[in-house]
């Protein structure tokens, strides 16, 4: 996978679009794990924390894809 546009039935999507989705899919089990072990109890603002985790995941995916494409 590279940073090139994705052809979806004739419509070109920005490469960030699938990465956003993948990061969200990865976040779901991460959140379940956090719930399972009660980790969010130690967080002041759970929504803010999860958003930060999501951004970290998205950044990691973007960097990983950039590295593998280079």
């Amino acid at each position: 996978m590279t940073y090139s546009e994705i052809n979806l039935f004739g419509i070109y999507l920005a490469p960030i679009a699938p990465m956003i989705l993948v990061a969200w899919v990865v976040l779901i089990p991460v959140r379940h794990l956090a719930d399972r072990f009660g980790l969010l109890r130690y967080v002041w603002h759970p929504a803010l924390f999860l958003f930060a985790v999501y951004l970290i995941l998205l950044t990691a995916i973007v960097l990983l894809i950039g590295r593998s494409g280079a």
Binding site: L8, F9, G10, I11, L13, D35, G38, L40, R41, V43, H45, P46, A47, L48, L50, F51
Partner: protein, 697 residues
């Protein structure tokens, strides 16, 4: 452009204080300091709404999307004063949008060559979404309505001036989906980052209030004299409304992102348990009302209850149930153990003990529900099975037919008049007919409210578009103009009883203003939209008048008839594995009874529920003893609608059990069965006219 999916404040919301913002403590009006205290959060919500819309527009402009205003309008629609409701609504809106966009693409792919069939397909899809919107509840209903509306929006964009297809459905579906997704994400981000949410706290308060009132009523029934028992019927009727509203509050709380996991299905089962507690309360009250000698037995039952449950000050205090659920849990467990161990000599005493124990056990699960909101690990609760509970399918079919006719008529008007604003007209007719129709009695009032919001929005958008925006040349200028409308509208939607009106106003304002980059000022387009929007809503209102929803009395009549039919089938058919399916079905019908109807009708429904559950129990126990034949005569009479014969047969069965020697194993269970027979007989005697009603084959 879409309206919010708000309903009029539900009983749950009213209990939570979302519906009314009045200040009962100050009859002459709230004190200035109190006003400031309530105005500040409302104003803050207005700022949040404004920020969410501006962020959505900024992202959509930055991505150079065709109709960036969709992102802003979606953000305005999704924003709600209750955080959990906003997030939940956003999620379900996304689901509805994806389904609707897929339907639009499929319709375009299948019927691209035939305009009439294509538009008929749209009307059929609108009917399907109206059907599902009526069958489902809360935000799932909103998602179903959205699927119809989204299809209308995409098809409206796809069609030319008079309904010709341009074959761009997939592109439009993807673009609209992206714009709507941006709106949902931006609204969710702004609200979740700036608010910790209070829906779970409100849910705990609501559960504690219901537990306190049901528990208080159940225990107090043991004290009341025979004639006073009838006075508790209106209280139980009111409790049905409050318990029915619980699922809305649970749905809102499920949307919040909190530190502890939320157990939605367990909490829905808690709501069912409150119904079970009500049935137990009813059973106790009926017995004490019917039997003159049961007062002494009630005193024996009272002696089994710990002090904390018998002191009205503590039992009726919701704060105690909420603050110390552990103590209430322990007290109830003690009481249940003592009640089960009572050496009852008569079936009547056994019935009182068992009903009180059942009611208390159901309340204990309610207490566990409160506990699960703060300490989910400590509370063990059963889950509600995943099943679609449909009280009656006829109102949904009527709504589907109305939606089909309305959307069909709207498209016909568009084609015949070749009106450039016809697409918006069809879209708003679809919105009015799919979103408001499930509200049944309140549907017309909701559509009218939406029409009023449209009229105000036209004025606000005209002033903004032609007086305030032209001198602005930057995004900051656009934001300031939007803020002049959205901040007060948001504050009013959070701080007044007219929340649906103001939320719709904000959304329609953005749809009419049509902010774009660069800004386009087209008076002709504005006039067309300004006529099409109220026109579409007006057509929906007309349709609601021409094909009105079923009157409440007729709806309840059908619900009672369906329940009676099911009860007779239950008496005749094979023994079900559990009473869960029967109870779930009747709980949904109890929840569907409108508040305006007579208390007696709700009492008949609860009587049928109680008799059905007891029939299942009796059949199971009779089967254990091998006495199926003794019970069968009574069941056949119930199925035939002959309650006097059924009572006679039950008495014969009771005498058969009574003649068995005490030394024979199962004496305790036999006494329990005899208590159940007594309860069924009480219900059949009290509501004989209902149980004996003739039904069409």
């Amino acid at each position: 452009m879409l309206p919010n999916g708000d309903t009029m404040p539900s009983p749950a919301e009213q209990c939570l204080g979302y519906g009314s913002r009045g200040n009962a403590a100050h009859p002459s009006g709230p004190m200035p300091s109190h006003r400031l205290g309530t105005a500040a959060p409302a104003l803050l919500y207005g700022v949040r709404l404004w920020a969410a819309v501006c962020l959505a527009l900024f992202v959509a402009f930055w991505l150079q999307l065709d109709n960036a205003y969709w992102a802003g309008a979606t953000a305005a629609t999704v924003c709600q004063p209750v955080l959990g409701a906003s997030l939940r609504k956003g999620w379900f809106r996304l689901v509805g949008t994806i389904i609707g966009a897929t339907a639009a693409v499929v319709l375009s792919g299948c019927f691209a060559q035939d305009r009439i069939i294509f538009l008929l397909g749209l009307a059929v899809w609108g009917a399907v979404s109206a059907l599902l919107a009526t069958l489902l509840r809360n935000f799932a209903s909103y998602a179903a309505a959205l699927s119809g509306i989204t299809a209308a929006i995409i098809i409206g964009d796809e069609l030319g001036a008079v309904g010709g297809i341009n074959g761009d459905a997939f592109n439009l579906a993807l673009t609209r989906g992206t714009e709507i997704g941006i709106g949902i994400v931006c609204a969710g981000l702004v609200l979740a980052m700036t608010d910790l949410g209070a829906a779970r706290r409100h849910l705990a308060t609501l559960l504690a209030g219901i537990a306190a009132d049901t528990g208080g009523g159940l225990i107090q029934a043991l004290w009341l004299a025979r004639p006073e028992q009838a006075g508790s019927r209106p209280l139980r009727r009111a409790m049905i409304g409050r318990i029915s509203g619980l699922d809305t509050a649970i749905d809102q709380a499920a949307g919040e992102i909190a530190a502890v996991p939320f157990r939605q299905r367990e909490l829905l089962a808690v709501a069912d348990n409150f119904f079970a507690a009500l049935i137990a309360w009813r059973s106790i009250a009926n017995r004490l009302e019917v039997a003159s000698d049961a007062a002494e037995e009630a005193a024996l039952v009272r002696d089994c209850l710990p002090m904390i449950l018998t002191t009205p000050v503590t039992t009726d205090d919701p704060a105690l149930w909420q603050r110390n659920p552990g103590a209430m849990h322990a007290a109830i467990s003690t009481a249940v153990r003592q009640l089960v161990a009572v050496p009852a000599a008569t079936p009547s005493l056994r019935l009182l003990c068992d009903s009180t124990a059942e009611g208390l056990l159901a309340l204990r699960r309610g207490v566990s529900g409160i506990l699960s909101l703060s300490r989910p690990g400590d509370a063990r609760l059963p889950r509600r099975a995943v099943q679609l509970r449909v009280p009656d399918v006829l109102p949904a079919l009527i709504n589907a037919l109305r939606a089909f006719l309305t959307i069909g008529a709207a498209t016909l008007i568009w084609i015949c008049t070749a009106w450039p604003g016809g697409a918006s007209f069809v879209i708003f007719a679809t919105i009015g007919i799919t979103l408001f129709a499930p509200r049944e009695d309140a549907a017309y009032a909701s559509a009218k409210n939406f029409g009023t919001a449209t009229a105000f929005a036209v004025i606000c958008a005209a002033v903004a578009a032609f007086a305030l925006l032209p001198p602005q040349s930057s995004f900051a200028g656009l934001c300031i103009v939007l803020g002049l409308v959205l901040v007060p509208v948001g504050a009013l939607s959070a701080g007044s009883a007219q929340q649906p009106l103001f939320t719709a106003l904000g959304t329609i304002f953005l749809a009419l203003l049509h902010p774009s980059n660069p800004e386009v000022y087209d008076p002709a387009q504005f006039y067309n939209s300004a006529i099409a929007l109220p026109g579409g809503v007006g057509l929906a209102m007309l349709a609601l008048r021409l094909v009105p929803p079923m009157p409440p009395a007729m709806r309840v009549g059908r619900l009672l008839a369906l329940t009676l039919r099911d009860l007779r089938r239950l008496a005749n058919c094979a023994l079900p594995r559990s009473s869960g399916a029967w109870e779930g079905r009747i709980y949904s019908r109890l929840s569907a009874i409108p508040d305006s109807v007579d208390t007696l009708l709700a009492a008949r429904m609860t009587a049928a529920l109680s008799v059905g559950t007891e029939i299942i129990r009796l059949r199971r126990n009779a089967h254990c003893f091998g006495y199926d034949a003794g019970l069968q005569a009574a069941l056949t009479a119930i199925a035939a609608g002959d309650s006097s014969t059924a009572i006679d047969a039950l008495q014969r069965f009771d005498r058969t059990l009574a003649t068995l020697p005490v030394t024979q194993p199962g004496a305790r269970l036999r006494l329990r069965v005899r208590g159940t027979i007594l309860s069924v007989s009480d219900s059949l005697t009290r509501h004989a006219s209902y149980f004996d009603a003739r039904m069409r084959a």
